[in-house]
């Protein structure tokens, strides 16, 4: 079992090294570019893709905020990205206020972040870690295992996959893959 995991890790790392590159910038609500890695040296960057009108995304927000609170003082930068072309600045501000999300809010007007990370759903989390040659996506997928499918919902999550992934990165290990599908609403780009 351990051997298999090692192999997977090696593959992931080599894959990551081959394609590692500079992080694309995010776009804040006023349209300005924001460097994702922040001003100080971050160990990792977590990007949440979310949608103001997606119920599963909204129901998962408390868990996203919990993980943010747990790791933001430990050298992990967190961003909440509203990737859908259907969002408006006003709508995002109202949503962020209602869910008390702070100010790490971004949009993705040209789909660069979604493209770079491979995100296709809301809610979906991406963990970026800095390798020798640049930033790699080391985890992409569900935040926890509460939803197994549309209409297949556990009363509570039994695995906190994102939290486990970030912990692994901080411990210098490669994260486990999500182990289940990302459940939520599809990301809609510009028509």
């Amino acid at each position: 079992m351990v051997v298999v995991r090692r192999l997977a890790t090696l593959f992931l790392l080599s894959f990551g090294i081959a394609f590692s590159q500079a992080l694309p910038s995010g776009t804040d609500l006023t349209g300005h570019s924001v460097p994702l890695a922040g001003s100080r040296a971050s160990h990792a960057v977590v990007v949440f893709f979310l949608a103001s009108d997606c119920p599963i995304s909204n129901r998962t927000l408390p868990e996203m905020k919990r993980v943010q609170a747990e790791f933001s003082e430990r050298g992990v930068a967190f961003w909440f990205v509203y990737p859908n072309s259907t969002e408006t600045g006003r709508g995002i501000r109202d949503h962020a206020a209602a869910f008390r999300m702070g100010d790490k809010l971004l949009t993705d007007p040209h789909g660069r972040l979604a493209h770079f990370t491979g995100a296709k759903w809301t809610p979906e989390a991406v963990v970026l870690a800095q390798g020798k040659a640049g930033w790699n996506t080391v985890y992409r997928g569900r935040i926890d295992d509460r939803y197994l499918g549309i209409g297949k919902e556990r009363p509570e999550a039994t695995r906190h996959n994102l939290e486990e992934a970030v912990t692994a990165v901080l411990d210098g290990r490669a994260p486990n893959p999500p182990g289940g599908p990302t459940v939520g609403c599809g990301i809609v780009g510009a028509p």
């Binding site: 408390p62 859908n84 259907t86 869910f99 209409g151 556990r154 009363p155 509570e156 809609v188």
Partner: protein, 659 residues
Amino acid sequence: MMGVLRMLFIGGVVGAVALAWDGGESIVTAGEATITYNRHIAPILYQHCTSCHHEGGSGPFSLMTYSNARRWGTTVERVTQARYMPPWLPSGPHGQFAEDRRLSTEEIDLIKRWVDEGMAEGDSRDAKAPPKYTSDWQLGQPDLIVEMDAAMSVPAAGTDLFSNFILPVPLTQSRWVRAMEIKPGTPQVVHHANLAIDRSASLRRTHPADWKAGIPGMDVMVDAGETFDPDSHFLYWKPDSSALVERADLPWRLDPGNDLILNMHLKPTGKPETVRARVGLYFTQTAAKQSPILLQLEDDAGLDIPAGDKDFAVEDQLALPADVDLLAIYPHAHYLGKRMEGWAEGPDGQRRDLIVIESWDIDRQAIYRYATPMVLVAGTTIHMRYTYDNSAGNPHNPNSPPIRVKAGNRSADEMSHLWLQVLPRGQSGGGDLRAPLLRAWMEHRLTKDSRDPIALFNVASLDMGQGQFQQAVALYRKVVEAAPNDARTMTALASAINQTGDPDEATALLRKAIQIDGSYSDAHFDLAAIELQRQDYAGAEKELRAVLALQPGDAAAHASLGGVMLATNRVAEARAEFELALAADAKDFAALFNVAMIELDAGQADRALEHLKAAEAVDRDDVDVHRALADIYTRTGAAEDARREQDAARSMEKKKEKP
């Protein structure tokens, strides 16, 4: 490059599907390959989706416009492919139930093809007019609106909540309800809501301190009260059924002192929410001509599900003693429920499915009304069989890892209920047609558990209704033995014992019941009745005043107090009490008759006549009313009328002597 490949792929699929597709108006031919929103998709959404999915509706997003549909297209495709939406659990034939919102296979295919092709809007000339929805009460301003005492806070995160809110009903007289609408307040938090009528405000009484905050639990049990009046209607809210309109001949009754109990399933949304539901009631002057009854099959005692068991089954069956129309059905289990099946086996052995749910999901539970009532003749046996999945593979399992689960009303417990709303067929000649059905149900419960207190109590009450007082005493005694500190049962036992001619033991029991629970008004009332029999008017007055302190506006208590006043020659006070009784219930017979007698004594023959006629309308077979009418007609010189009334009274007396 991607785009070109996709177009080619789609073109191939459309060609193949077009051959098999023979829809009516919106026929798609190979030459006209594009599925458009305006022509194909909007009509599907308007018919099946937008009743919830509109601005301000209970769905989490709107599907009213093209841009809405485009935004949600991939999601709509996903959930319709999985048949998760529109929500519909039964797998039976289309048309069995009213409001069947299932999509046809063709419609589901159309949506998929539209999304795969890139979600074209199409020609605006094909656009249909969207349906109109209102955020107001669907049926206009209700006659009465009741509201939760305070808003309930729902936290941002956590497991689903199940809570029961008591809504006192400020009525001063009985009303018939023809329609009802529950407005949950924050529809996206409320998953479903059921409404129960607590005839005796029993839940409020058993939760004096905390009822305003909501009483947790998936299910509640309430006390049906003193009169024979089994539950008759399913009252509920689900996301797409805002106003619930009853059949014109089947309104339901609401009396002063009743509480409505709103049982709500609440789902945290991710941000803190508050919920304050309102219930709008629409009255009718027309009383119900018939009354349905809710029957239940269950095997909660059989629910003892080992941890890890994937396919645990329970069954129950009930033989119908009379012909009924089956109007609606409500299957209910919690998170472990898997497959549900209800069927009827006729006396000829023929089997008919009542409902089949292959994959139960409490999040989508609903009450299903039959499109046309199913006739079930006497001798038909109704069956249920439910299975449960208590393994870790059931994502809904509230316990991780799984543990042994039994019946209970917490969401982590289980239930095995199949409720049926049936309407007895045939003419009501001798008594309430529901009585034999209730008896069959309760006696069946006793075959499962001979000490079942609810069944013992109900059979005893049915015996009382049929004058079988000795039998009733024996049954009530069994219940009292099992629960010696229950004021309710003790009071019922006392009432039965009094009927067998032992007012002394009855009095002793009633005094004990009052000692146990001084707020149980029926004990005071029954004690007053015995004291009245014994002409202990001071004692009776004290007990009746206790009833009125607990239940102001109780018509029967006012009328009885009026009787005490009359017996002690306090005519003016008596009249005031009778008037109060009539204000609460314009059809209180004792009050109508006695007011008439007082008016007659005071020389107000016209008013007396009016009250007597009203009393006659309530009970046509009361000898005293006809005698009094004869008396009035004699005084006013209407000799013919007087003779008619005397004849009526005489023939009734003869009838009484004969049997």
